[in-house]
């Protein structure tokens, strides 16, 4: 009953899927000295986690109200936030990040769910297709960015060459035209729903066949089966997917940094890139204010989505 059972189409075994049953062997009584072992065992994790998650989190929050740079730190209260909300670049970044988030939730997730449902019917070549869909998740963001820089190049990129062959306008500089930059960037990841597909397929595989059999006996069409059985049962998984794509969107950096640097005129600037730019300009306190906002956004998103999708108790 191991995780290896979570393959391709096999029914997921209840033991591995259900929330971990609390095993409580009372070992302390049987073998004194285990306590020390446990403490030592947890120590590296505590140190690493503390140093690289907890301390930074604290630092970000505390110094977000300061003017911090290589030359020193001085607290300035809410000054950073005042500057932040007055900065047009910040609003661009916020708007763009929100647009990306919307695209992720409204396009990426539905596409992934739809593909997963279709593939779960075990049509021919479904395994190969799933690999193809997952490929963009395997390749690095940097590599993909370089792929698309070339793809979108006005002179020799595939897109313009194809458009030219079809007799359409094949001269646009997609990544640097103020009207097309944001959609062009979004298009590089919004249709690649590999993770969603994999997760939803695994969840669909856990639905017992009997439920569908009963529905078929009652005369339900395939679409009705999907709508009334599959989708409701996928509620949790879809909710998890929404959280995952939102977290990815907030963290998205590689693509915008390499493809456009945030331009033109901040049309593709995201909060993460904005924070990095401020870090590069040694405005550390200010960058941390942006960081605080990013983290807050992430937490809000998780809480909101969990509530919306009524996700049960999870580790998140």
């Amino acid at each position: 009953m191991s995780l290896a059972g979570l393959q391709d189409g096999a029914r997921v075994t209840p033991v591995a899927r259900a929330p971990a049953r609390r095993r409580r062997p009372r070992l302390e009584a049987a073998t004194p000295g285990m306590g020390h072992g446990v403490a030592l065992s947890l120590l590296p994790a505590v140190l690493l986690f503390g140093a690289f998650f907890l301390v930074p989190l604290g630092v970000v929050v505390v110094t977000s109200s300061s003017d911090w740079g290589p030359l020193g730190l001085s607290f300035t209260g809410l000054e950073n936030y005042r500057i932040l909300f007055a900065d047009a670049a910040f609003w661009s970044a916020l708007r763009n990040t929100a647009s990306f988030a919307a695209a992720a939730v409204l396009i990426q997730v539905p596409v992934g769910v739809a593909v997963a449902i279709i593939l779960s019917r075990r049509i021919r070549g479904w395994r190969l297709l799933r690999t193809i869909y997952f490929l963009p998740n395997i390749v690095s963001g940097a590599a993909l960015a370089l792929v698309y820089v070339t793809f979108y190049n006005p002179r020799y990129g595939l897109l313009n060459q194809a458009l030219g062959t079809l007799g359409l306008d094949g001269t646009r500089d997609w990544l640097f035209d103020v009207d097309t930059a944001l959609p062009a960037v979004a298009a590089t990841w919004v249709f690649t729903a590999g993770l969603v597909i994999v997760l939803v397929m695994a969840e669909i595989a856990a639905i017992p066949e009997e439920v569908y059999d009963a529905a078929r006996v009652d005369g339900a069409t395939r679409w009705e089966q999907t709508r009334h059985i599959t989708l409701p049962l996928l509620r949790n998984a879809i909710g998890v997917c929404v959280i995952l794509v939102l977290l990815f969107t907030f963290a998205y950096f590689d693509g915008v940094y390499i493809m456009t640097g945030g331009g033109p005129a901040d049309r593709t600037l995201t909060l993460s890139l904005y924070a990095f730019q401020e870090y590069s300009n040694s405005n550390w306190g200010y960058a941390n204010a942006v960081g605080v906002l990013l983290i807050a956004l992430g937490l809000v998103a998780i809480v909101a989505v969990r509530r919306l999708f009524r996700i049960g108790e999870r580790d998140f």
């Binding site: 994790a45 960015a145 907030f250 870090y279």
Partner: protein, 274 residues
């Protein structure tokens, strides 16, 4: 009947379009990396003709790709080993033993997955600098181990909870101590979980761009993602070299994935649904 057929073909078209969106540009870049400069510029066809290794030659002679690859291998291997080791040590007690604050600790470590680490770039930089780990290979390995510890923890915890409860009872009968138990009994049993988490983390560390750029930016310490992406500006006219570089960046993770598909997918479904 007609509706059925229409439904089937439109589904097929849909699947094909999504597939094209996923791999089309990538395949084009890989194919084009074997073209000559003039074929790339000319409104040519998709397949290279003549087949040429000019791009690869230019790439490997002009920049230290081997160095970048070695760095990336070190970071991915070291980071994975580190994350797995620390995570196993932490996940075992949280999953299977009882001790004060166990649930809180488990929750805390898992919560690491929820923080968009892009918001922490400044303090990560400062902490690495203050610990003397900034701009060093060892430092990158430590950082990656810490960064991927939460995911490894979550995956291993789920996995270990799934093992039968009799293990500890049998061990108690044998009078085993904690680390003996861990090393001789749990470790072998945990191998599939370790493999799963390991493959996912390896690929992710291999692909990392932001944190290598942020924390070990000098050119001797760059990984292949940062090194090749930034060098784009150096190639005045050699597009084939850039395409070759992009292909090189993608090869290893794809190969690892193809070999370990099963583990990757299993791990993701376990790690994320919890």
């Amino acid at each position: 009947m007609a509706a059925r057929l229409l439904g089937r073909s439109s589904r097929g078209v849909f699947l094909a379009l999504v597939a094209l969106a996923c791999v089309g540009p990538v395949v084009w870049v890989v194919l084009s990396s074997f073209k000559t400069q003039s074929q790339i510029f000319g409104r040519g066809d998709l397949l290279p003709s003549p087949f040429s290794l000019d791009g690869y030659e230019a790439l490997f002679t002009q920049i230290d790709v081997t160095g970048y690859l070695v760095n990336t291998l070190l970071y991915a291997g070291g980071g994975t080993a580190g994350a797995l080791a620390v995570a196993l040590l932490a996940a075992y007690p949280v999953a299977r033993l009882r001790f004060p604050f166990r649930r809180a600790v488990g929750l805390l470590f898992s919560a690491g997955l929820a923080i968009p680490i892009a918001g922490l770039i400044v303090p990560e930089f400062v902490i690495m600098r203050d610990l003397g780990l900034f701009d060093s290979r060892a430092g990158m390995v430590v950082f990656y181990s810490a960064m991927w510890f939460p995911l490894a923890f979550v995956i291993l915890r789920v996995y270990l909870s799934g093992l039968p409860p009799s293990i500890e009872e049998a061990a108690a009968l044998d009078g085993a101590r904690y680390f003996q138990l861990l090393r001789h009994v749990i470790l072998p049993l945990a191998r599939p979980g370790l493999a799963t988490a390991g493959v996912i983390i390896f690929i992710n560390v291999w692909n990392d761009f932001l944190f290598n750029l942020l924390l070990a930016p000098s050119s001797e310490h760059q990984n292949v993602q940062v090194g090749l992406a930034l060098f784009r500006g150096q190639f005045t006219t050699d597009i084939a070299a850039i395409l070759a570089g992009t292909t090189v960046m993608m090869v290893i993770p794809v190969a690892v994935f193809v070999l370990f598909q099963r583990q990757v997918i299993a791990g993701l479904t376990a790690g994320s649904s919890r």
